[in-house]
């Protein structure tokens, strides 16, 4: 799994208290999304955030390193803060038909693995399982791994997300769209 930080970093473990703070932060983020409090959710991101979900394909073991698309490759999301804000604006428009009426989501964020970089930032890998129920019987499931770059901030809830890389374990997405955030 490639790393998010631009330059090589020394990675060290984090103490129990920091781990607790990071877990609390990620659960809060999940709650804001499940509760559809998107304006508050958006405030958790740094202004220079890169929010990215590259595509993935089936490759032989020999070409396994090409399985997940690179920065110049195909992606489902490749957003900056301004476009994330645009998506949030769209969701609030009342005319965003893939989320109006809105989906019901439930996020399971597990296997939280934070490390401290020598820049003072934290790189956090988590496993996720997001369930979406829509309309009468529609049901989608999204699962994979997220790698976040977190920065401490003085204000609550204590961190900003500076990078997010989402990698699904599916190649062909078994859903009609990703009209939610992951």
């Amino acid at each position: 799994m490639s790393k998010l930080a631009a330059t090589p970093h020394t990675r060290t473990g984090v103490d129990v208290e920091t781990r607790y703070e990071i877990e609390r932060f990620l659960y809060l983020e999940a709650e804001l999304l499940d509760d559809q409090r998107f304006d508050e959710w958006l405030e958790l991101f740094d202004d220079d955030v890169h929010y990215w979900l590259p595509t993935r394909m089936t490759r032989t073991v020999r070409e396994r390193d090409l399985e997940v698309a690179g920065r110049d490759g195909a992606a489902f999301f490749d957003d900056d803060k301004a476009f994330l804000a645009g998506r949030v604006r769209r969701l609030a428009s009342g005319r965003s038909w893939s989320e109006e009426p809105p989906s019901r989501t439930r996020r399971l964020i597990t296997n939280i693995r934070p490390v401290r970089l020598d820049s003072g930032e934290f790189e956090v890998r988590v496993n996720f399982h997001v369930l979406r129920s829509r309309a009468e019987r529609h049901h989608d499931t999204f699962f994979g791994e997220r790698t976040d770059l977190l920065r401490r901030v003085p204000q609550e809830p204590g961190f900003h997300i500076a990078r997010r890389r989402i990698v699904l374990d599916t190649t062909t997405l078994l859903a009609p769209s990703i009209s939610i955030f992951l």
């Binding site: 595509t55 394909m57 110049d72 195909a74 999301f77 476009f83 428009s93 309309a135 009609p176």
Partner: protein, 444 residues
């Protein structure tokens, strides 16, 4: 068996919605529509070197498309002739050969059977390997980098199959001196809907944009006043639609090539290369032909939005969308990134336009579970009787507005002709006489 005349009346713009649900109709489509039409297989740039391959589908049939050592391309069914196992199980890559993992039959890049394990002991050296290669796609055509194939030896030549649509296709395919390249990787997703909803919309439907995509521009434009003005202007813009041979193209006429959706970095490249574009396809075509397109049956693109896709059918009620972003091959990196990100944000499966389309199509398909719903005739009569020829010097049947369903009716006409089992010469003949009748009526 189904009776095609009961299913669609293209000239009246009437559709019996069981064409979107009936398993028998679907099996008929695999045999009579998909196995007889030219289908998009791959773009040249996906096959960079000898041994480069992609696995795609021709309808439900998995097909390997492979660059040969001499630079040519071959395509063959991804199916071992011994017991039918897939002989390559990666989506793409570079191979020296393909080996079936079941019993180890080996094939070269051309799809010839070259190795049968224990040929002497198990087959007593009696197997004629030249007869047991995977089924080859017998006809391939490379149109300016776009590789198409058909199983049907009797299908018209690719240029004749496209007819006047080639002029509209070339607004994309022939646009740049150095041609196009694709952003690496396909985006693939599944929508529970019939393939014809998607193909028809991209052939014929500008009408859904203001309603279906009402929120997309909210994401793209922050200032409500600017947004309102833009929406008003684009809805009111004059437009045209072309229909022929089952294909369709629709577009609003634009005063300039810029601004593009991709923003200033791509705009700068377009402005610097404007003369090149005008020289290749003409100013008139470059400004006009910028919208939605389908080459019958299931290859679609949005010229100005830099997205193209195949709607692979997966039963009457499901499709796989395979989409790609295309770029001018020689654009600078900033321009390429601008196109790439803007197309991902608007027309990937998470794109602010794209998500709305899937929502409509799945809901229609759900409603069509109902017996009464399947008996209820659909209205495809928009613009009926207002077809024109020779509008603005554009080839083929062209309406003088983009809000029409002429291309939808044309698509169902071609679909009906194929589904009724007419031969290709018969279809071509019928199309000719229809066109003649229309032209005479138009002149009269």
């Amino acid at each position: 068996m189904f009776d095609v005349t009961e299913l669609v009346q293209p000239d009246q713009g009437l559709i019996n919605p069981s064409i979107y649900t009936d398993p028998e109709v679907y099996q008929g489509e695999l045999e009579r529509v998909f196995a007889r039409s030219w289908l998009f297989l791959a773009h040249d740039t996906q096959l960079a070197k000898p041994g480069s391959f992609v696995q795609t589908y021709m309808a439900e049939d998995p097909v390997l498309v492979v660059r040969q050592r001499d630079g040519s391309v071959k395509a063959f069914l991804n199916q071992c002739r011994h017991r039918g196992m897939r002989i390559c199980r990666a989506d793409e890559g570079v191979a020296r050969a393909f080996t079936c993992t079941y019993h180890g039959w080996g094939y070269n890049l051309a799809g010839e059977l070259v190795n049968v394990p224990m040929q002497d002991r198990a087959y007593h050296d009696e197997i004629d390997k030249s007869k047991w290669g995977p089924t080859q796609v017998p006809r391939l055509h490379n149109h300016k980098g776009f590789i198409f194939g058909t199983w049907d030896e009797s299908a018209p030549a690719f240029e004749d199959y496209l007819g006047d649509m080639i002029w509209y296709f070339d607004a994309l395919a022939d646009r740049y001196d150095e041609g196009l390249t694709l952003v690496p990787g396909a985006t693939k997703w599944v929508i529970d809907c019939n393939w014809k909803f998607a193909a028809e919309q991209f052939a014929s439907d500008m009408y859904h944009v203001p309603s279906s995509h009402a929120s997309a521009l909210v994401a793209l434009i922050e200032d409500p006043a600017v947004l309102a003005e833009f929406q008003e202007q684009s809805a009111a813009a004059p437009g045209r639609q072309y229909a022929g041979n089952g294909h369709g193209s629709g577009f609003g006429l634009r005063p300039d090539l810029v601004p593009t959706q991709a923003g200033p970095d791509f705009d700068a490249w377009v402005v610097a290369n404007r003369e090149q574009i005008y020289r290749r396809i003409g100013e008139h075509r470059a400004l006009a032909v910028n919208g939605h397109n389908t080459v019958f049956p299931n290859f679609s693109w949005l010229t100005i939005n830099n997205t193209m896709r195949v709607w692979h059918p997966r039963g009457p009620g499901q499709i796989e969308v395979w989409s790609w972003t295309y770029l001018p091959k020689d654009a600078d990196e900033r321009a390429k990134q601008a196109v790439r990100t803007s197309t991902i944000r608007t027309f990937s499966a998470a794109g602010v336009f794209e998500t709305d389309d899937g929502e409509n199509w799945t809901e229609i398909q759900q409603v069509l579970r109902g017996h009464q719903a399947r008996k209820t005739t659909f209205n495809a009569r928009m613009g009926l009787g207002h077809e024109r020829h020779g509008t603005d010097g554009m080839p083929g049947r062209v309406t003088d507005d983009m809000y029409t369903e002429m291309a939808a009716r044309g698509m169902y006409r071609r679909w009906a002709d194929l589904m009724s089992g007419l031969s290709w010469p018969e279809i071509t003949e019928r199309d000719k006489s229809r066109q003649q009748r229309e032209q005479e009526a138009h002149l009269a």
